[in-house]
């Protein structure tokens, strides 16, 4: 019942011009909030505005952002979000470390993406049949984490690959590789959602699944593709992480799921599906990274940080929900 509550929206056939304007407005609003926050933060703590710190924020935002961008496909296709991303990241990290240390970097990379696509397909097909992404991904998450522990023998797997090290630590044109990939992901995903057939189908499935089914769309295919996008995004993040630190273990990214979800939610992508763009998830990730960084610099305890992020998420979903005018 709770998943189909918001299904009865009017078909999203309003002029795409209006939609574009709304997205632009949202993005501008987000940028304003971020600039205002950064200015206030900079005044109250001078370390916040140093160049070094900017790189720290960008790199932190990149890692969360890549997953958040990928997860926005799920949200836009009406499947809320996945609780399995952090566990999948750990599994992918272990797979990448194991395959790279035994077959070398290129084959390792290929095998890892193969595993990611398979994991995405498995989740997508299950969710398409069962209908509740939260519970399905909760289950898949534990299984992924278990496999990660099994594959790594529950110990640290180290890799020794110059190519991987370059990928993880290089700074082409002075910007970390992670951030280049983050920007690239944001652009590519935005283009997929806005300018391809699959993107259009994803939006329709999210905004009105009944209409999508009636017009002959294969909902299972769209859901599966959204999950594959999510898995591949997670894989990119996990590989970058392994490359940066040259090691992987099964308890990597423990508890990071909420950061990814928080980025998507704070970005303001409509949870009923069909509205929003991957760019919003990217902006959400940057906002969360700025906030986290500011709180860290001011020595907030981890409990207080978590409470504030949680409160921000609850406030964000409530406000966006009220703005949509669905309140009793």
């Amino acid at each position: 019942m709770f998943l189909t509550k918001n299904d009865h929206q009017p078909i999203a056939n309003e002029a795409s011009q209006a939609a574009k304007q709304r997205h632009l407005r949202n993005a501008v609003l987000g940028l304003c909030v971020m600039t205002a926050f950064a200015t206030i933060a900079g005044f109250s703590n001078p370390t916040f505005t140093t160049v070094d710190n900017l790189f720290v924020v960008i790199r932190a935002a990149s890692m969360t952002g890549i997953v958040a961008i990928a997860m926005s496909f799920l949200t836009i296709s009406g499947n809320l979000f996945a609780l399995s991303a952090s566990s999948l990241g750990a599994l992918i990290a272990v797979v990448f470390a194991v395959t790279t240390s035994s077959f070398g970097f290129p084959i390792g990379l290929a095998l890892t993406f193969g595993v990611a696509v398979l994991c995405g397909l498995a989740q997508g097909i299950t969710v398409a049949g069962f209908g509740n992404p939260i519970i399905a991904t909760l289950a898949f998450g534990t299984v992924f984490r278990g496999f990660a522990a099994y594959l790594s023998g529950n110990s640290i797997v180290r890799i020794d690959s110059p190519a991987a090290l370059w990928l993880g630590t290089a700074r082409p044109f002075g910007v970390p590789t992670q951030s280049w990939i983050f920007m690239l992901c944001a652009l590519v995903c935005w283009a997929i959602i806005r300018h391809t057939k699959l993107g259009r189908q994803t939006i329709l499935c999210g905004s009105n699944p009944h209409a999508a089914r009636a017009s002959g769309l294969n909902l299972a295919f769209v859901t599966s593709s959204a999950f594959v996008f999510m898995s591949v995004g997670t894989a990119i993040m996990a590989i970058l992480n392994v490359a940066q630190f040259s090691q992987a273990k099964a308890d990597l990214f423990w508890g990071y799921d909420f950061d990814y979800i928080a980025a998507v939610l704070v970005g303001g992508i409509a949870l009923s599906g069909g509205k929003g763009s991957p760019m919003q998830a990217a902006l959400g990730a940057i906002l969360i990274a700025l906030l986290q960084n500011y709180m860290l610099l001011n020595g907030f305890s981890s409990g207080l940080r978590m409470t504030i992020v949680g409160a921000l998420v609850v406030a964000a979903i409530s406000v966006f929900h009220i703005m949509q005018g669905k309140v009793r």
């Binding site: 939260i134 289950a139 998450g141 609850v314």
Partner: protein
Amino acid sequence: MTNKENLAIGARFALMVIVYAIFAAQLQSYYTVAGVSALLTSAVLTGLICVGVAITMIAGEMDLSVGSMAALSGIFSVIFFPLGLIPAIVLATLICTLLGAIQGWCIHRLNINSVVFTIGTLIGIRGLCLFISGERTALIPFDRIAETDVLVAKLWILTPLSICLIVTFIVAEWFMSRTLWGREIYAIGGARDEARAAGVSLKRPTMIAFSISAGLAGLAGALLSLRAGSASPLSYETVVLEAITACLLGGILLSGGRGRLLGVAVGLFTIRLLVSGIAALGAPFWMQNLAVGALLIIVIASEAIAKIMVRRRELMSTPDLIR
């Protein structure tokens, strides 16, 4: 209760007996008094929580914040312990019930997807746990630890905790099937629009369901923390997985309105027997979570297949549509 329902619960009971038999063949602790007592007590945490989760699922909603709620209650119960054992448990449970009522009110008022909202509160309450406890494990003063001994007392295979679990199941089953408030929860889960048309207010059942789930999570957290003499702000993170698996295995429908708490009890013990058995056979700790996850995927997959079969049968029985 119809015959069909009886049959479904019977089949689930048979599955539980099979799991029991498989492990009992290899493990002595599955039929000794001490072993059974330990099994019952180990089911208390998940058991109390899954009653609450089941009630929210019957209402067609979902409460994912129970793990954080239990941890919060554990910390409160240790803080209130100087007032005495029973007042500490009651106070911690009451605070959680109140938080749950607020949560239910917000979900009703905002008309928001409860999965999403409770994910937000899941993060927030976990942060609150860390904040209140100062990121340390809260401990009962060592010179007063003897006062908690009553919680580990044993009466044949029963302990105060397992008695609490059994009483909760009986009271909850009575509440859900015999009282007006319980029937309202079934009504808004099974057929929300029809229930509203018939004049059932959505506010009361929603608030009651979320109060019960938070309150029971609070009770579980308080009991377990006081029994252990300490409460960690990071505990009970994975309990929601087991609770949801127990509910689905026990025949609670995710779409709401269906399922009985008797079935949930069967589902709960199926899982506990499986997990304890795996642990007792000496498998590594991650194996337990893997087993629960795999079990949940099997339940989900079989439900998905059943759904497809039903849809196909409906299509077959309406020949006009095909031609």
